[in-house]
Symmetry: C2
Subunit: 163 residues, 2 copies
């Protein structure tokens, strides 16, 4: 167990239902991302059902890991840039504007994968995250994600009492 | 029911386990893609669990639809270019080399989505597919996929008796 709280553990409840990263989605992946120096890291063990061709992980799951680890990293980076902890108000959450994934080689199924991220750009409400995924220490996937901060009004509507 | 057989219904059994598009993956999405003139089309109803923020579909599923509809379209296009049906030998299957997804606006959850594709380039063992996803007739996602044909040796090893 990682003694730190994951980025996703700080999301407000109403924003914690995402199939990829929501801690409250009992059917979802519930990924957990952490800082490791200037890089972010997430470990994930795909299930047997997440197969592509025999022996390998299907690309949609890998895209999903890059996506949700990326938006988590974007949020964590935005708090860090403001010099305040992730559980402070107002909450900052990010949506994916664009996602690019290069599948360099097949990713083996049945082992824990490591997704790593690094902030490439942070400007206003936009954050660009560069990512790579390792299987047995080898990079099998590279990704890049452009994340944009959830509009304040949308966030207010979502977190107001009754929701 | 669509009277045509879907692209994915022609995949050899050993290549029909993919979580996104394998007809034999009982836990997966089992998407079905068809020709509609020069475009390919796939309809998919996300489940409640496929949530991002309340009311909207999570991006990883949308990326997965673009991915698997794209590789299916690439295979169908390759057969069409050779002027032979999808159930003829040798089988042609494609893997994703790269995937790009632009999330233009949030995609509403709870309705049938339509994913459409068009061949942008078909050259040798590489096919580029342009895609877009419609929700209530409105384009919410655009994507592009570069697919490469599964190497013959890999395909032979996969489909040889005993596998």
């Amino acid at each position: 167990m990682n003694p730190q709280k994951a980025f996703q553990d700080h999301y407000p409840d109403v924003l914690a239902h995402c199939y990829g990263c929501g801690r409250l989605n009992e059917f979802g992946h519930q990924i957990k991302s952490y800082w490791d120096g200037d890089e972010s890291v997430c470990h994930f063990l795909p299930e047997a059902r997440h197969i592509a061709i025999p022996g390998y992980v299907y690309g949609g799951l890998l895209a999903s890991l890059v996506d949700c680890h990326g938006t988590g990293t974007a949020a964590a980076a935005a708090y860090r840039a403001e010099g305040r902890p992730m559980d402070s108000d107002p909450p900052l959450r990010f949506l994916t504007a664009s996602l690019h994934v290069d599948y360099l080689k097949p990713t083996p199924l049945g082992i824990v994968l490591e997704v790593r991220g690094r902030v490439k750009e942070l400007k206003g409400r936009k954050v660009v995250i560069e990512e790579w995924l390792l299987a047995n220490g080898e990079v099998t996937v590279r990704g890049e994600l452009v994340a944009v901060q959830v509009p304040d009004k949308m966030l207010e509507d979502l977190i107001k009492p009754g929701n």
